[in-house]
């Protein structure tokens, strides 16, 4: 199958390691991947702020760049949701696009990717992955196969971390309060790591942890799956 990588702009710029980890895992599964270098951004920041006319050209561009692939895989629940669930609102038919965990479990039928990560981790359900893409068990099925990994659930796993893109910029105090509630829930699990399918959430959560609870680290699902 012709598989393309969709690496969101902030993963490309801020967390390249997440994209690299995803490629590592896909290659371990003997999949050939391509990275169309013309890609830039899916358009979500403009779309979410109400600027649908600014998002539409980027959606059209995305559809053109990724035309012809059997699947497009991305290490981001929110960007995948933008493409799959919201591009139709812009009048653009999306290419078949999948979040990474979703691709592994639902498209390839794979839950064991040969990973080893002996640590206690807790999983944060990013909102778009959970509610737009309906992913809940898939990341957990993957984590269950990681050797040495102990998964503990936090009581507020499904509660929003408070990032929400421009929301964190426009309403920083509310964003901070939500972050604090999330981090308290994480702390109660006594996990060493909090893991998620969305790096934007991990950035938000990491910001609070770094300042208040540096013993707990953030890590993307892709990086855990790439670890051996």
């Amino acid at each position: 199958m012709r598989l393309a990588l969709f690496i969101p702009c902030f993963v490309d710029q801020l967390y390249p390691r997440v994209g690299i980890a995803m490629v590592t895992v896909l290659r371990r599964l003997k999949l050939d991947v391509e990275f169309p270098a013309a890609q830039t951004c899916c358009g979500q920041p403009a779309f979410n702020t109400g600027y649908w006319d600014a998002a539409r050209p980027l959606a059209q561009r995305f559809a053109e760049i990724f035309a012809g692939y059997d699947a497009v895989v991305s290490p981001s629940g929110s960007c995948t949701a933008m493409v799959r669930k919201f591009y139709p609102d812009l009048g653009v038919t999306p290419p078949p696009t999948f979040e990474f965990a979703e691709f592994l479990v639902k498209q390839l039928g794979v839950t064991d990717v040969g990973a080893k990560f002996p640590a206690k981790v807790t999983y944060h359900d990013s909102c778009h992955a959970l509610r737009e893409l309906r992913l809940k068990s898939e990341p957990r099925q993957l984590l269950a196969q990681v050797r040495g990994l102990e998964l503990v659930e936090m009581d507020q796993a499904e509660t929003c971390c408070g990032f929400g893109g421009t929301f964190a910029v426009k309403f920083p105090q509310i964003s901070y309060a939500m972050d604090e509630v999330k981090c308290h829930s994480i702390a109660k699990t006594k996990a060493d790591y909090v893991v998620s399918a969305d790096s934007s959430c991990l950035m938000q959560i990491g910001g609070y942890l770094q300042q208040h609870n540096p013993g707990v680290k953030t890590i993307s699902l892709a990086e855990i799956l790439a670890a051996t």
Partner: protein, 481 residues
Amino acid sequence: MSASSQFLDAARQKAGDLRHRAVIQKAIGAYDAKVAEGKARFTDWQNARAIAAGRKWDAINHLDRYLEQFERTVIANGGQVHWAEDSAQARQIVLDLARQRGVRKVVKSKSMVTEEIHLNDALEGAGIHTVETDLGEYICQIRGEPPYHIVTPVMHLTKGDIAQTFHDKLGTPLTDSAEELTMIARARLRQEFVTADMGITGANFLVADTGMIAITENEGNARLSFSLPRIHVAITGLEKIIPRFEDLALLWPLLSTSGTGQSLTVYNSLVSGPRPGGEFHVILLDNGRTRLLADAEQRDALHCIRCGACLNVCPVYKNIGGHSYGTTYQGPIGSVITPHLRGTQEWSHLSYASSLCGACTDVCPVKIDLHHHLLHNRRNAVRQQFDNPLQRLAFRLWLWTMQSPGRYRLAGKFAALAGHLGFKPPRHFPMPTGATFRQWWAREQTHGGPASPGGPSVPARPGPSTSARGDARTTGHGGES
């Protein structure tokens, strides 16, 4: 001060108020536990929601037909129906009726619509003594505050706060007992029920085919309000209509389960006429609801049964509280409908005060597409040019940048430069370092082997001394930058 600046101030203050946060978390924690029990009584909760959504869709999309049927049946049963286009007309209908009947005292049961039209002020202004009889609303009235939550009006107050309020305003001794406080209110309000000339209630549902209003409550104050005074006036939004009496068999348990977790609320009453020797009036209020109806994309917001579930699940609401919204309807439903009811320009900010997490849409018993409507409101605000012109310009510039990989890469380099020069983003967020995924990919393609930019090589290993993640700036293991 604009509604938007007031909101920002209030939200900022409340978000940092840890006492408030603790009180609300405790209350909603109790609610969550009860609701989980309540949902377990359904064999198929998701399908129950789907059935209810279908019934309300039928009601709202044939609203004229059902309202006319309701009016006919109420009149046939001996009641009167009044139509009010806006708050002023609704208030006037009540005032005229009160004046014509020589009403000196009114008892009220809980009704968000009466809050919406500011009825109490109008009645008091006309010299009519108006008493809230729902315990939570009574406390709000004594404190001179609006209700904090559409179902639990004083969720934000502790026992101590309420005891202090009663002590200050009613002269009662301070007590630590919720029971004693409730009995204080019960004794005082009993007198009011018995001597009132008019009882004003809301309505949870309007049953079109039998001409009944349905009132749901736990306390019994609504029953007393429509049973004892001579005149019963029910003021209601016109969207409360349901097609058939039989629809109540599902809507009542859905409302009670989502509202409080109860299998059924203690009193579900159906009033179809006056008490012997009395009068029964129903006032149907528009006040912007027909504007929402005309927006076919968001029309389902009129399905709302005012259960409060979306408020209780919303992480924004839980941190800023009901008063911060500065308008009658709070939480996600309030943020969705208020621009339609009160103006897009002044009230779109509520639609932006959301991370679009979607928890509200998941819990709504009638499946309103709440969080997507927040997006729609944002789009509408931009289309009508109510946005900040600087923001509009910023996104034009942003679009221009993103339409070219070259410009995008350049922007990334500028940001990396700013970071190296010491520019610090808020909240410990990282800055780009200049080492990007596409650089790694390009190098790997040309050199034919994996290389890692500025950090320990993937795969990561867990352990206390390894920052398996960290922000890209602090790892600094050499490599390209």
